[in-house]
Amino acid sequence: MDMNAYLSMFIDESNDHLQSLNENLLKLESSPDDISIVQIIFRSAHTLKGMSATMGFEDLAALTHEMENVLDLVRNNKLKMDEFIFDTLFKGLDALDAMVQDVVGGGTGKADVSAIVTNLKAIVNPDYKAQGAPKGQTEASPEKSGGEAAAEIELDQFQISVLKQSIETGHQVFHIQVTVQETCVLKAVRAYMVFELLEQSGEVVKSEPSVQDIEQEKFDRSFSVYLITQQSAEDLKARIENISEIESAQVTVMDEESIAMLSKPSRPEAAAVKPEAQKEKAEVKPAAGAPAAAGGGAAVTKTIRVDIDRLDVLMNLFSELLIDRVRLEQLASEIKRGDLTETVEHMARVSGDLQNIVLKLRMVPVESVFNRFPRMVRDLAKTLDKKIDLVISGADTELDRTVIDEIGDPLVHLLRNSLDHGIESVERRVEAGKPETGTVNLRAFHSGNNVFIEIEDDGAGINRERVLSIAVKNGVITAEQGAGMTDEEVYMLLFAPGFSTADKISDISGRGVGLDVVKSKINSLGGAVSVKSQLGKGTIFSIQLPLTLSIISAMLIKLGSEKYAIPLSSIMETSIVRRDQVHHIHGNSMIEFRGAIIPVVSLSKLLESPDFDELTENETEVVIIRKGEKWAAVMVDEFIGQSDIVLKPLGKYLSNTAVVSGATILGDGQVALIIDPNALIK
């Protein structure tokens, strides 16, 4: 089999599984008793192991296998998670990640993981007294489970009482163990047939593994059920074994005594049921947690991966379709034939829906970048010996795929910087009267035509004098320049090349290259970085990013024969002003608006409009726009209306045009320019 065809699939899926392992391990760390999380982790690890083995990455499979052993003990309540286990598992994940990355880079995915494997084995050892054979688990556990068994029983009280009552009312209770043939391909189907038969003849009280797992073929070769029925054991056995590919069905009659014993499996008389009972015991807790796990599983939507170029093509083809649609609508209104009009209207509706979908395809939630940070912050906090909480909000904020791909590294830099330089050590925080645990807020939100990502820490803040003295010392600025700088300008020095505020160079940040790189990267994405800080209170790094290709709501306006779009997000309202309402102060046109005097901007002058001049009008439509605290009234010729538009770049040749931030294609196929409201307010 040619594995190359599956390699990219393997890589994608491995990355997904590693991510989910990371996330869930972190979750587990905060609530170590939640076995349902262990179940999810176990499943991911198991899938990963299977995939790696299939693809022939033996080292990957071997390490995953060891991790799986540990997890197996944990989910069966034979091992309690502790810090050492977490650290070892995390290290294992890192090693797995490194191997997968090696595979990505065309390597063989081989790595020396013996240290981690030894640790993992050591974890498994103390509680795992059996001889290493898989069956050993069930046999090894009784002596340990003796103490726990009283508290945890394989059937819950309700189920036991049902069984007891059934016997009292003259029904029979069987424990049936069904084994499918080794050669059986569709185990789940056979199991289903068995279940169907059982349900016809009686009531299944409990199955091991759970019915869900059996349906998903998550069992080895055998499964067992407790069945209440009126039929005889022999009859049942014969009928089950009659189903093809079923190797054997072992039917054990249960009486009241043996049912009572289910709750005390450590008693020697219970030997007959013990192996199953032990298994069952392991199953009880997960079953309780199963709804949560199943719920979690359902939330994960199914996806396919698509080459982003194809989306671009799709998008462009769709815009063409749109143009034809408008043309068709025109023709239909001219021809005035009922069925034609109806068809065109229907097509318009369908293409409207299609448009929405096509436009949203490229947008990805920032979550895909954010989700690796909790793990990073955890590790860093440990390394730095600080206590840090990372609070993420707005992870569902959507950004264009291309921006998502690029934004990861700058964010890592800024986060590291906040952890290393921002948040103080525990002692210093206590001294300063702050809570021991520092908080770093990572926020993403839409604002206007931009997405903002903010990293806010409640650390020491930026010391203006220190920044200045270092900048002067490192030759970034002269002392005279520094004296006249505003606080914001001083903070921006952090992003200057060759600047480092760390007293000692750590491997986390502070080589003085990091922030410099951050700024140039973000600038290259068409974004901007800004810093706000309060000494002793904390610092906010704010990244402003454009939505390179996204849908924005805009107000379409006319200037003579030309059409322009103004992003709705920065429009406060629209209004009409009369000539005599415009005041001239110091050569600037101003109007009174809501008790404030705001400047009037002539769009026609700014854009050198060839055929419109508001001076010829007595009354002019104005759009009131806002940038932060500043307002301005923009004079336009005519409002066309509000519409969702696709933002398109003007092309590389015109990459930095003033006033215009991009273009869009209108329904009639014409290009309309999008005005950058920020450029209108000085």
Binding site: L317, F318, L607, K648, G651, Y653, L654, T657, V671
Partner: protein
């Protein structure tokens, strides 16, 4: 015998110019152009080329030639060089020919008022016509545009 080049021939004023066929994406009839304010005069604006917004340059303007009204024969040649896609407005575009790269001589200092650095060379065709080969990378040089803008300011 040098390399064989496929060249698209277009007319501008009285001259014939050529660009390599592999740099040309498509040739379009004139279509509505949206003016982009605050750009050099030779940038006519942007067009919608099947869903992609592409800037359009008036080559006459770029080479400081006399302006002319668009005619039936006017065409927009869409070229792609170094990731930059631009449309050229030309008077006509009508031919694809093969020329031998050896037949291209280095350009004399001035041809029809176009500075030599925009030119790759001059090829003599079999019918005696002269074909001016453009150096697209220079024609689309952005630094020079910035200079022009500053000059205009």
């Amino acid at each position: 015998m040098g390399e064989e080049l496929k060249v698209i021939v277009f007319g501008l004023a009285s001259e014939y110019y050529g660009v390599e066929v592999d740099k040309v994406r498509t040739i379009e009839r004139m279509m509505p152009i949206t003016r982009v304010p605050k750009t050099p005069a030779f940038i006519k604006g942007v067009i919608n080329l099947r869903g992609v917004v592409i800037p359009v340059i008036d080559l006459r303007g770029r080479f400081d030639m006399e302006q002319a009204e668009a005619t039936e024969n006017s065409r927009v040649i869409i070229v792609a060089v170094n990731d930059i896609e631009v449309g050229f407005i030309v008077d006509s575009a009508n031919d694809v020919i093969d020329i031998d790269s050896d037949a291209i001589d280095s350009p004399p200092e001035v041809i029809g008022g176009i500075r030599a650095k925009y030119l790759r060379g001059v090829a003599k065709l079999n019918d005696g016509r002269l074909l001016v080969m453009l150096n697209l990378a220079e024609v689309l040089n952005k630094e020079e545009i910035v200079q022009i803008e500053q000059f205009e300011d």
